[in-house]
């Protein structure tokens, strides 16, 4: 019986490890062309608040026009920077789907990392401040003279609470 349990345990572990197999799509990721990749960095300017390549309004003249311009630029062999400049000149900075990694927009990109770094420093600082000095860690035993029954009871209650789960 123990062996059966052990093997069933092992089988369960393997089943869990193989779980991703069930959820892997049968085919790999479809390759996107360069235009689609660049187009993913701009918004459709029709007001739908969707990324240019995702605007699904049939008959949306704005996205159709923008995609046409994009296709032409990519066919010409324009660089991504040139395409970006073209759209920004035409529509302004509202056309960005993500802020450019330069100038003032760099703040938007760097802020999350700064938050994380500062937060980590803060947490480490808090942990180091909260840590008991070595002397304080050697707690006196329950029978130490001078510890009142009330204090002991409170400590017991606290211990019970803390070990509840």
């Amino acid at each position: 019986m123990t062996k059966v349990r052990r093997w069933s345990g092992v089988a369960m572990l393997f089943a869990m490890a193989a779980a991703p197999l069930l959820i892997i799509p049968a085919e790999g990721q479809q390759l996107t062309d360069r235009a689609k990749q660049i187009g993913g960095k701009f918004m459709c300017m029709c007001g739908c608040s969707q990324v240019l390549t995702q605007c699904n309004h049939v008959g949306c003249t704005t996205s159709a026009g923008m995609l046409k311009e994009l296709d032409q630029a990519v066919t010409r062999g324009d660089s991504e920077t040139a395409v970006t400049q073209m759209f920004v000149q035409e529509f302004g900075t509202k056309v960005y789907a993500e802020p450019p990694k330069s100038g003032v927009s760099l703040i938007a990109w760097s802020l999350p990392s700064i938050y994380l770094a500062l937060g980590t420093i803060l947490v480490v600082f808090v942990i180091s401040r909260w840590r008991k000095p070595p002397a304080a860690r050697t707690a006196p035993t329950g029978n130490t003279p001078g510890v009142s029954a009330e204090l002991l009871e409170r400590a017991r209650a606290q211990a019970a609470r803390e070990t509840e789960d």
Partner: protein, 687 residues
Amino acid sequence: MDVFGSFALLLAFVCAVYAFAGGIAAILTRHPLLVKSTRQAGIATCCLVFLGTFSLEYLFFSDNFANAYVVSHSNRDLSTFYKIAALWSGQEGSLLFWSFILAIYVFSVLIAYRNKNGELMPYVGVVMAGVQIFFLTLNNFVVSPFKALAIPGANGTMQLVARGDGNGLTPLLQYPEMVIHPPNLYSGYTGFTIPFAFALGALLARYPGEKWIHLTRKWTMIAWTFQTMGILLGAHWAYAVLGWGGYWGWDPVENASLLPWLTGTAFLHSVMMQEKRGMMKVWNVWLVFCTFLLCILGTLLTRSGVVSSVHAFAQSSIGNWFVGFIVIILLVCFGAYVKNRDYLKSENQLDAIVSRESSFLFNNLVLLVACIAVLSGTLFPVFSEWFTGDRISVGAPFFNKVNIPLGLLLLFLTGVGPLLAWRKTSTESLKRNFGWPLAIGVLGGAITFALGFRQFYSLVCLILCVFVASTITMEFYRGAKVIRTRSGASLAASAIDLTMRNTRRYGGYIVHMGMVLIFIGLAGAAFNRDVQKEMQLGSTMQIGPYTLLLQSVDTRPEKNYTAERMIVEVMKNNKPMMMLYPEKRRFATTVENGTMVAIYSTLKEDLYVVYAGQSPDTQLPVIHAYLNPLVKWIWFGGVVVVFGTLVALLPNRRAVLVLSGAQQPVGQQLQHGLTPSPSVTMREGHD
């Protein structure tokens, strides 16, 4: 009914002012009658808000087109079901609905604690009344939903008129989920008022730290559950109605709902530090304050037009009121904190770095960083315009790049945190708890990598999902095994028993398992595919293993709209499988069209078919098909999260003493010369 509703709201405002001012007087004088009367004024406020809301709903049901709000958001042919939803479809009604949900919460709190916590409740009552005054001010004097329809008469005076029919409800809102999504989300937003009221009340009253935390926890969990359901239902609505193939677009309004959810989640974790160790008191108080402030900020973003969003209400000057309210809340919170911060000192210290306490600190850090990152990204266009004159958009690509790593870090902590012990975790314990889950996670990752799974974030996400799922399963297995050894029950029964003995802990694990399922679903987004094609009758399009054949097109007149329906046969590997019916709905009362997406959903993938409209050039129907892997896992995960939260809200089943000796008659025991000293056995019961 117009006048009745309006009068009810006005009276509610007066009662709320009395509850607020009288409550302050009651705190200062400690007069028991004053305390009682202000509590009753609070209850009366709620009842009057209920009356006001029901009277507006009555106007919808009775097709009263003399009311301007009813004219703007309803029409005669609108089904009863959607006439309920019409209440919150516009600015005025949605703010009344906000007051309504808030009144339900306030009413529940005032009734539930009417004879308890006498020291604390007057403070809580004052804070709740303060929040109610703000919203009732808006309902009465800024955006009243009870405005009668009037036109200028010949002599220049305004004359009351009634229209024959209304403008109808926005087509996007005529979908079943829009009847349940906003109430859930509003219940989340408004629900955070209660923890806020308890936190601020406790701080003002210098109430002992642990007590308000105990009182607040379940209210926070209720609000958090509604917020979670609201967010997920909103995502599902966006998926099924907007027809863009996605469920989350990082729209400012979506972000606004996520912000208090993130800080609320952080609070639900850090609150354990205060309960168990008496630590992080200042942090918890400020987390609750921030969560409430973010709820109000979210409302400001949705209603003021500060940021552009497809979900937002019409642009209005109402934002100024919310800014003012936020400033007042900040000042009050800060003042209360400065005055009484001495009461928030930590009782304990940290014993070791590798401990449950540290993991909670890092969990809070990641949640807070995610929150601030989303907030700053959402507001960046506004700030960039202020400082540079140019409005720089921040869209989904930015939020994905920033938040995916944070999400994965959080997922990792979800697996690690619960397995670390309070105070200190030994190396042995680390090996015992993490050895197998880590091995299973790595094995899962190796298998998927070997199979050509190369998308970095999705691969990492799946490895972490396997790891976290393993840690949770092992926790259940270990606990259930101990119970099975003692009771002889099956493993499943033992697992249920285990859960019921400590609902909070194991309910929490179920919530974590739900989050794992949601992350699995999110990982699938990296493999989305789509094809769009103009289709003639009888033509086909291919997406993945599916072939779509446009069989015919029909038009179906319904009561409130006409549906133009595509009849699409789906074949898989050239074998007929099923029919799908994507449609466009053209409403008589509005120029906007509604989209009904046809979805064939399996655990592996969703085949998502949209009738996108007619091509302006060829007049042929355009079909847009998407193949979205693993989306169903998200909705299923959401159900598991809600289930886990409900389990965590249940009281623990407690071991009680039962005298088994009582089964044997005492006289019989005495005959055998036995002293009646019954053996003690344990029986389970609810507390």
